[in-house]
Symmetry: C2
Subunit: 412 residues, 2 copies
């Protein structure tokens, strides 16, 4: 007998009518003989409403109480879905994070799952019961307080639950029908991928693809959970399977480049004529790390006078002003002649496990972009991807150029 | 050191600004040196929204899942109040029903409290922590599922918690400033009572006064919890104490009649010429009881032919149509010549512990109403109250007449 975890996000459970549609998807799998646990998010908009109340209550709100408030949204959806399933004549029960229990650490607002006890839910399966699980939340064992996993945490709930239940599959139902070679809104000829490896998906999610939360892919990879990304908008009676995220071993034909990701949420900062001596990097990046500003690409170029160096790096767009102010306040300690920067940059990445065994993959991209007159501001590479920082105005041109270059366009 | 339970209902926590006002009331008591547990309801309108979703999900919804959904409203208020209190520099923590735990039976939707464990909250007091408790909810120990206490259940949560914590006082903050001799909207000269006994309050709540849930008064009486009804709209810096509900022993001057209650939610049914023989009452009231229709006043009058009898009784207004249909369907089994009825009746009651030692109290009422031309359709009495069924059109006239008759009008 197959055992499945099915996860439905906020837009898929936006109102009771949509929840009824979710129930039809669940019924299809149950009718086919599967044991099913369903993980649900809050109805879309509800979490934002709860967060807004917390902000109104206090500018700096207590994170544990914030969790107690915002985790309530998923309880509503789980209860409503259980009601609908029972009304359809199925056997179902809702599960709150503490009831399972799904134990986390105490990092309220962004807690990490420590353990998931599958025993009670499996006992329910033996009685023919569908488990309807409130996503996004857990409980901290010592304090007994409710915790949340952070935005998009329901994906992680689902994958971790699938691992605990030894499920055959974890289906993440979303508003797209799978993982694409790139964003179809930018490249209409983008293709849905049948399979993508955990490593590639992890890079794609980290580099800007929004289809899955990074942490959920990590958990899927560690526990080798076969995870499908598929559409909740498909006909419940005849859905497609979407994209399988799986072990590299299960992918027969490895593409050199599997996908092109891009992130507009980048900003570039450059410090001119920094003394080229030991300790200067620490003087710059130490304070940024302490301020919880995440630095990504770093490049260092020796200045024309050879005794100093120009240092360029990127930070998340939302941190641009804060990073700039911090560096300005430390100008004397660091020592530089000018601080320049712009939030109008984009990071474009090509990802593919085939890169491991092919050389010159990135070089082809540099040449193709140069031919289109696109200036590359910075480059970083790793084993299965490379990223380039370019002017934001060239985003679409660069993405389309690379998509065609690596043979990803759908055949006409 | 005083130990208090403070309870705030839906209109007192309707939005974040009102929750901030509640926090000021709490701060006043904490600043005065009290250990405080606060019980809160859902923000007004939220429970109705959640109930409406359950109804939309299924016409006959699963009661356990209904509880999981509707209990979420109180979690939001409790978390928000804890955030506001912490923002004021106070030490606070929210408590969900299962965290206390507040254990109930399994009667989902109208569960009864079985036990309240005060130990964790008292341990919090020792650390200077204010407990903010989500009202209306508990947990069933065997299933681990969330239960709710039924509408108005937060009053009962508060009183039961006060008993478990051995609190000196339970303050029920509401949108009125106490218990009145009758509804001031009907009788502008109604007076606020300084003290009312548990027994009287129980009758008043049962007979139509909406200020407190009946069950909460029962719990207060059993555990002898000194309970104040007071206004959340008072200035938090200078509030009044409202009405104390207390043991009869603590009331020095016992009124013959303390208050006049009335309930418009009544309907009258009369069966004409029922055979006057054993078993006929069972044939009528047995099926009504099985259908969960609550029968209140019953009067039986021998018909003019002496071999038959007319039977009149009341049911809740909402059950009128159902009761009528049920009796019509059983006409052959019961045997009657006509079924008559009207929902346009009202039950008016006078309540007072002084009735025990005074005779002729009700007779004065019958005479006074007759003088105003008000026909009494039925009468019931008990040790400390009597009730009369009259035409609904005479409600205000009858209430004002009795209020003046028993000397309850405020002195001009």
């Amino acid at each position: 007998m197959a055992r499945l975890v099915m996860k439905f996000g906020g837009t898929s459970v936006a109102n009771v009518e949509r929840i009824r549609n979710v129930a039809r998807h669940v019924k299809r799998e149950v009718d086919a003989g599967a044991e099913v646990a369903v993980v649900v998010s809050a109805m879309s908009g509800k979490t934002n409403e709860l967060v807004a109340w917390c902000r109104e209550a206090a500018p700096v709100y207590d994170p544990a109480e914030y969790d107690a408030v915002v985790a309530s949204g998923e309880l509503v959806t789980a209860g409503l879905l259980a009601i609908v399933l029972k009304d359809m004549g199925l056997n179902a029960r809702s599960w709150q994070g503490w009831q399972i229990p799904l134990a986390t650490d105490a990092a309220h607002g962004a807690a990490r799952i420590e353990s998931v006890d599958g025993a009670r839910i499996i006992a329910g399966f033996a009685k023919g019961e569908i488990a309807v699980v409130a996503g996004f939340q857990g409980v901290h064992a010592e304090t007994g307080q409710v915790t949340t996993l952070g935005r998009g945490g329901s994906d992680t709930s689902a994958v971790a639950l699938a691992a605990a239940l030894h499920a055959d599959r974890c289906d993440i139902y979303t508003d797209v029908d799978g993982v694409y070679t790139t964003d179809p809104r930018v490249v209409p000829r983008a293709q849905r991928l049948d399979r993508v490896s955990f490593e590639e998906m992890l890079e794609m999610a980290s580099l800007g693809a929004k289809v899955l939360q990074v942490r959920s892919v990590e958990v899927a990879m560690v526990h080798n959970v076969r995870t499908y990304v598929r559409s909740s908008f498909d006909d419940p009676a005849d859905p497609r399977l979407g994209t399988l995220i799986c072990d590299e071993e299960d992918i027969v034909e490895k593409q050199v480049v599997t996908g092109i990701a891009f992130s507009r949420d980048e900003a570039q900062l450059t410090l001119r004529k920094v003394a080229d001596k030991p300790g200067v990097a620490a003087a710059i990046f130490g304070p940024l790390a302490e301020a919880n500003i995440n630095v990504d690409m770093i490049i260092q170029v020796v200045s024309d006078d050879a005794a100093t160096t120009d240092i360029t790096f990127t930070v998340p767009g939302a941190e641009f002003d804060r990073a700039k102010a911090l560096l300005e306040s430390r100008r004397d300690k660091i020592g530089y002649t000018a601080l320049q920067g712009t939030p109008d940059v984009v990071k474009i990445s090509a990802i593919g496990i085939g890169m491991r065994s092919h050389s010159g993959v990135a070089a082809r991209a540099f040449k193709a972009l140069a031919e289109k007159g696109i200036n590359i501001r910075a480059i970083t590479t790793s084993e299965i991807k490379f990223s380039m920082l370019i002017d934001e105005a060239y985003t679409e041109l660069a993405v389309r150029t690379l998509h065609t270059l690596y043979g990803l366009d759908v055949k006409a």
